[in-house]
């Protein structure tokens, strides 16, 4: 079966009309002129759809009838595991075979209906149809009002499907603190935090980071002390995500101690996260001798985990250069240049290499060539040019840290740091929902 997409105009038109019919049906309109108009509008594009598209649309219509007809469900003391069809549906979803997954969910006899709707929503969100996903998440949340995760998913789908309405909702959630389900608050923070990664307005950014910190604190208090306590052991990876987001915001707000504390907590919960280790290392590097040593240990741990990022190599190279451990510094740079990083970062690593060459009394041509290579990789690296000039000026003098300017640009380093994974990535990686 080929995965149906939004690409086909006929499919799109039929989907739009089906959603309209569903909306009218929910509003109690069954035989109005508008419904008749929608029915007529479907005939032509429907006949132009492929067999897979027809099957997907027919299935969606059936699933939406569940949303219309199942308006309550009994509270179960024990939620039984999903049947074979549901298990296979989840496997299909993880293999990105969403149409197959939805078909299998239709065959499942698993209870409760809220869980089925939730999984339907998950598939539609993966199919990049948040409008449809929202209908199923809302259904799940209405049937099981106690389940905050359903509310959070509905909230996320709303933001994706209707960005303007979604922004208003985010603002509402973040201003009505401490009211609101923690999962929804965290989701609102997640979306707001990700918007900060694209935002360049420093004034707004600062206040947004402050709001996120306040909101996450409120969510944590509710999770730890509220009536519906969320044990860390049961809620992970949400806790480590919350702590890493708090740490990132505190780092931005120059709140060093809280940032360090939250990174450390997050690393404790997620010790194999290279991103967290790198972020904590970058926070501490260069502050004091002890802090730098501890930062370098974080970077080394990230390397041992097998990080794909160049930034820890950069820091270690910088540290080794300062420690005059040039041989090892060269090896680290060679490895780091193979990893992911900006041109600026790689240019500066080449600059370190040139300086190490100079320190090791390598031929001047090699030193010059490496400095030039650095400027070729990133033409905005003026520091490499001035360091080359310093080298040319005092060729006979053994280079030390006093001769070369080697200050790390904090803004550049911040850009290189990996942001915390989005909540969706965290959830997808851990598949936290039990069947």
């Amino acid at each position: 079966m080929n995965e149906t997409t939004q690409g086909n105009l006929s499919y799109r038109k039929v989907l739009d009309e089906l959603l309209r019919m569903h909306e009218l049906s929910v509003a109690g309109e069954h035989e109005t002129d508008e419904i008749k108009k929608s029915r007529d509008a479907i005939d032509e594009p429907y006949s132009d759809m492929s067999a897979d598209e027809r099957e997907a649309i027919e299935g969606l219509s059936t699933d939406l009838l569940d949303v219309e007809n199942i308006t309550s469900e009994p509270v179960l003391d024990y939620i039984p595991p999903g049947d074979e069809a549901m298990v296979k549906a989840l496997q299909a979803q993880r293999s990105c075979r969403y149409d197959d997954a939805l078909k299998l969910l239709r065959e499942s006899k698993s209870k409760p209906a809220s869980r089925l709707s939730f999984f339907r929503g998950r598939n539609w969100i993966e199919k990049r149809e948040p409008r449809v996903a929202l209908l199923f998440f809302n259904h799940a949340a209405n049937l099981d009002a106690e389940n905050d995760d359903y509310k959070a998913e509905a909230f996320d789908a709303l933001v994706r499907a209707y960005p303007e309405r979604g922004q208003k909702e985010i603002t509402r959630v973040l201003t009505e603190l401490p009211k609101g389900a923690p999962a929804v608050i965290i989701k609102a923070c997640d979306i707001a935090f990700n918007s900060t990664l694209r935002n360049r307005d420093e004034g707004n950014l600062r206040s947004l980071h402050e709001v996120i910190v306040r909101a996450l604190h409120a969510a944590l208090v509710e999770m730890q002390e509220g009536p519906k306590k969320k044990l860390i052991s049961e809620t992970q990876p949400v806790y480590s995500y919350v702590y890493s987001m708090l740490a990132s915001c505190c780092r931005y707000l120059d709140m060093l101690d809280p940032a360090y504390f939250y990174y450390t907590f997050a690393i404790g919960l997620d010790p194999l996260s290279d991103a967290l280790l790198i972020a904590r290392g970058a926070l501490m590097y260069g502050r004091t001798q002890v802090a730098t040593e501890s930062a370098v240990e974080d970077f080394r741990r990230a390397l041992r985990i097998g990080t794909s990022m160049a930034i820890p190599f950069y820091y270690i190279a910088h540290y080794l250069l300062h420690s005059q451990n040039f041989e090892t510094c060269m090896k680290v740079i060679e490895d780091g240049l193979q990893k992911q990083g900006s041109k600026q970062l790689k240019s500066e690593m080449l600059e370190f290499k040139a300086i190490a060459f100079a320190a090791m009394n390598r031929p001047p041509e090699l030193v010059r060539q490496t400095f030039k290579e650095a400027t070729l990789v990133d033409q905005t690296n003026k520091r490499a040019l001035s360091n080359l000039a310093i080298y040319e000026k005092g060729m006979a003098v053994p280079p030390t840290r006093d001769l070369y300017v080697l200050k790390i640009d904090p803004a550049m380093a911040r850009r290189e740091l990996p942001p915390p994974r989005t909540l969706r990535e965290v959830n997808t990686a851990h598949h936290p929902v039990a069947v």
């Binding site: 069954h30 029915r39 479907i42 429907y46 006949s47 132009d48």
Partner: protein, 135 residues
Amino acid sequence: MPRVFRVMMKDADGKPTIADDAGLGVRLGVDIRQDAQGNAIRENKGMSVFEHWKDLPFNRKPRRLGGRGDDTTFCFRLGDGPVVSGQLANGLDLLIPMGKNPKHGGVRPQQLVPLATFRADIEATRNDWVFDENP
């Protein structure tokens, strides 16, 4: 005669209502086009029929049968033969498939005839349609 299904309103005698919309008939400009002389144009269009009522699209299948169609419409069957393109009834041809759906066919005139004749030929089949919503 090929066995085909169509969803239509029902008259008191249990037979389909003669009507262009949701009945036994064709919608001008939608199901059939007319030339300047008033003839029904024979092309890849016609009165929609399906291999089985289960093959009806969701927008036409009545709600009681799991669709989103009008519940005041009913499924009728015509004929009992294999579903292939060719003669359906007097003056009428079955074209199947009509469009991309292999189970969707169209009833069209066998040849160029006045629209009124085409409509009369369709209406003449009224008594041959039987209500059938068996699974």
